[in-house]
Symmetry: D3
Subunit: 248 residues, 6 copies
């Protein structure tokens, strides 16, 4: 049955540094995939327990407690989106690049056989964990392609990689080359965001961003396509050239 | 009937500086479009009579004679590809940017209503006509979108623009982000190239290039897609972000 | 008295392609200047009568009528911001670069003696008028510096130039290097926007953008500065190096 | 009393790979700060004992001896500039990036609470220690901002970061965006340079550079500002956007 | 005899916007060429009569008078360097790009048959005439290569093009990729500079720059080459790839 | 005798990640060097046993067996080219950057005293080992220059570094600035390629590439140089500025 799933699906793999990143930056893509019937899996390298949980620290919570909260929130968001989720608990601030962590990601690739991979940008002067996660994700994907790499499973194909949007895109040299229409699933993205109550100020920020990217999508698609007035979108940057049989 | 055509088709517009450019650089995309049943139209701003007809000049031919030869060769190639072709005879080496020429291109856009536009790169240190053509093509496309621009027809939508491959891609800052599989139509591209006998050395050069881009396409698509051993491809650069409902 | 004004003030000159640009992109900077007691002057090279007045054209209005409407709206917005405004009526879509128009801008520089100049970015693949305006503005500023240039007035100093934010910043290679706090004058910016009723969808779009840039300003300024919760900001790119006596 | 100092001052932190870097590249900024009454602190990750002490090695000196010489020279230069100095003695050629060294820098940030940070550029094909120092400095600054990072002191704000000038600026992609007028303190910079006798050829080299940057400062500030004929300057590149209430 | 010269020589062509540019920026390259026995020719598109003659204007001189002075100074400098010089008197500030002026440059290329071409950078935010001159020089060189271009002489080969150094290199995106050792001819460069008395402040500025580039040349050539202590150099950027039979 | 060799020769050092890289990417440069009588040495950091030996793995060979095959093939190719070869057996996929490996490369530099160094590009999204090898090679070269670095031999000079061509040049930001004419030695390059039977599909791929680069070399050198019809070339990117006494 697993085999069947693999044959018929386009599994989506999302590798994020902290527990919340996949929600703000890629929830639309995830929900679109699962609504189409594809598997989606989120791998959180850390919980964001030190660097992205300021409120909890100010409230005097302890490290393990914070990790537990972040885990449960992220699980709720993943459930809302229909995605599987796995936590590698590698620590954040800083997220350390190690051969062992890369090896774990290779095994995830070999096991999950993604058709598409999403991760952070390689530049982010505000958060060193993001590029560290991206470098490990990219390295793991390449290693998983090598038949000689000693890990279970078949050599990976060449799934396209998309960088999702960082918090300050221009400062991260993020020039979108894909605008993804997430209108049909935006409500699910909003609900997933609401699973993260500690970052409530982000709900509206990323709703506004989705509107803004939606306006740009309509501008780039042209007025003749009959897009919804309130088109919502997510922006991505493609790492490798698109391969296609049709220019469009 | 024209209306019907417009409703059902994705017309492809190719704007090239000289009479031969569309063959070397975009014949695959054109043949794919016409095989799908879409209209394709080539607009040649000049015949390349001064800058790309060295052999004819060495043979002592006259200007008008050379233009006639180039016209008939380009027409033969277009026919081979199933495309319409129009010559604006604006002169080459240099191709001069004028408001009148831009206006003619606006009218082409309004009339043809392209769903996709192909043109030269904006940088080419070997040939100033290529960027001049590209600048005029891009300006015309934007002007055609304005309802207030005084030309017949409806305001244009926002057709995506792709730059086709220049002769020395790296020197033109051409970093392909689309690899188009032209295997099914490569024979037609070859035949179209053979309609240009004065540039016979180019036939193999661009056949080799198609192979090379094909190898890259396979590398980027991954070994699991079962692509043909001799996949042939053309490379393109996308000017505007892709708008889509699926990441792939 | 003019002399006195020149001695004590830091006049702000805004050169925009169309009648509305200065409102969406630079109204905050203008209002800050006039609240400080500095003069601010807006030069509109065109009214945006063809390219940015779609609704009026759809309503069947005529060219001169549209120009009159745009002029009066822009005047109202300028008044709201305390700025002078001048229309050069050079035509839009396309805005043509001519020596005569550059010369008029030289004379504006010589006469107004700006301490700061704002204009469009040099890249904008969605609107050729914007870079055309920027190129002319920059050329005029340099020409005005030359004592040998034949126009009334003294040679200009070296006022810094800032590019204001285009509609799709990343596509225009706009990487902000200045975030301007416009919180104290945002209400005036909003009122100025509301002087342009035909583009009502822009009011919220640029209010949201000001919030977004405000969030980024707070992030870059640091939490310790006690900035307002609802900090509003405009983003700019500096063309020339900043000259200063203090690193901050 | 420390608290008072913190409240009233804008402490300047300079993180340099080797003992001499802060003198050639940032002595002007340091002297300006201390003349204003601000604290300035230099952290030298190494003494430059292997890579920047060629003469001492040729004279047959031993490692510890060289380190002692470099330390005392750097201390003398810091004293001349009114700055505190700390040596982390982490070794040079190569300077190794370790979690422990980054942690020490986090603690420096938490303790010193800089309002401004200066460090090396991220690119330097002539000296790998420089980018290594910069990467660690930037990582430490971000970690120090996280309340969850386990080190004494309060979370850091968001002090702006400036890269100081490398020896071959163009090769290091160093495009100055700030020119700092150091005329009032240049004599102190010269004296600080003279504290490093082993690199006497650098005294004139960096005096000439200050003149050159001074000429550029005057060119960018404009002739009307009445700057000194012999304006001396240092060049910097700003990493994060400037946040301000005034465009100037 | 001309034929002989052509066969044996590597003629150097320098195309500059104003009368003084070739002295500050390329006098070393010119003197090296003429000392080797090669012809060198300078084409000045204008005299720099408006934009680079501030002192003369302040002294109340008239336009024609200023042009005559600039001409005679430039002739003296060219003589000092052993170079031919031609003035096209096309006007400066602004230098206008016209088909006629490009055509004159094509004829210069066809007649002089340069083996190497030097000109300005394509970017210079301080002086629009410099990029205008460069664009015309590059266009003319390409046109001169076309057998079909209607001008006397044989089609040009493909002489390499080097951009010489602008006044503020980093702001002009000038990243040197060639450092030319001009030590043997520096005294002639200095004397040529001294032919331009109105810009006396430039003599030392460009002497210092030659020293600075000389230090960099030594650094890049390595200590083992036994270069002179006071190596003097000019910096250049190569437009087209170097073609060679030896990597060195 | 070694000393004599050093005095008279320009030793060429090639540092490659895997056993085959030097053949596809730099065999022409190597053969040119050895034909001139210069020493050439190849250092293979790994055998490419995991990442570049897919066929052997599919045939069920074991790790040590594969390494032995790759070693003997590479040795044969080196012999064909007249080069020495050394294997550091540091492992591939991933090639790990360690201080020990860098130290070994420092010792190679000190011992071999290269006049020219060739290595991989710093960017390669398809193969992380290539940039890892390049980073270590560059670091080692700089460390070897420091008299204080504790390794036998004299401090290294400043040999120029060239990046050889990656498999997908545009995706690796590889913009050739040197085209090396390898026509006289191409047959030896072909024979060296044929020493690697497992990658037979590469023989033609890199023969075609040499033709393509040869066409470009002729285009950039100009038609007047009388180059062979079938000029073959390799492309390189220069890391440091060229130092020269002649512009050509």
């Amino acid at each position: 049955m697993t085999t069947e799933t693999k044959e018929t699906a386009n599994p989506l793999l999302v590798i994020s540094a902290h527990a919340g990143d996949f929600v703000w930056r890629a929830a639309g893509a995830i929900a679109l995939a699962t609504e189409r019937g594809d598997r989606a899996k989120v791998v959180c390298l850390s919980f964001g327990e030190r660097g992205e949980s300021a409120r909890a620290w100010r409230e005097g919570k302890k490290l393990e407690e914070i990790k537990a909260i972040r885990r449960s929130e992220a699980e709720a968001a993943a459930t809302e989106l229909g995605a599987e989720i796995e936590f590698l608990d590698a620590g954040d601030y800083p997220l350390r690049e190690t051969p062992e962590l890369v090896d774990r990601l290779v095994r995830v690739h070999r096991d999950f056989e993604p058709a598409v991979v999403l991760t952070h940008t390689l530049t982010d002067p505000y958060n060193g964990d993001h590029p560290a996660a991206a470098r490990m994700a990219l390295q793991a994907r390449v290693l998983a392609q090598a038949i000689g790499y000693d890990a279970p499973g078949e050599p990976l194909g060449a799934p396209p990689v998309f960088f999702f949007e960082p918090h300050q895109p221009e400062q991260c040299d993020f020039k979108p080359d894909v605008l993804l229409d997430i209108t049909p699933v935006f409500e699910r993205k909003r609900k997933a965001m609401e699973c993260l109550p500690a970052q409530q100020h982000m709900w509206d920020y990323y709703t506004d961003l989705a509107k803004r990217r939606g306006v740009q999508l309509k501008r780039n698609a042209g007025p003749n396509l009959g897009l919804a007035h309130d088109t919502m979108a997510e922006a991505y940057v493609r790492l490798y050239p698109q391969t296609t049989g049709v220019l469009a």
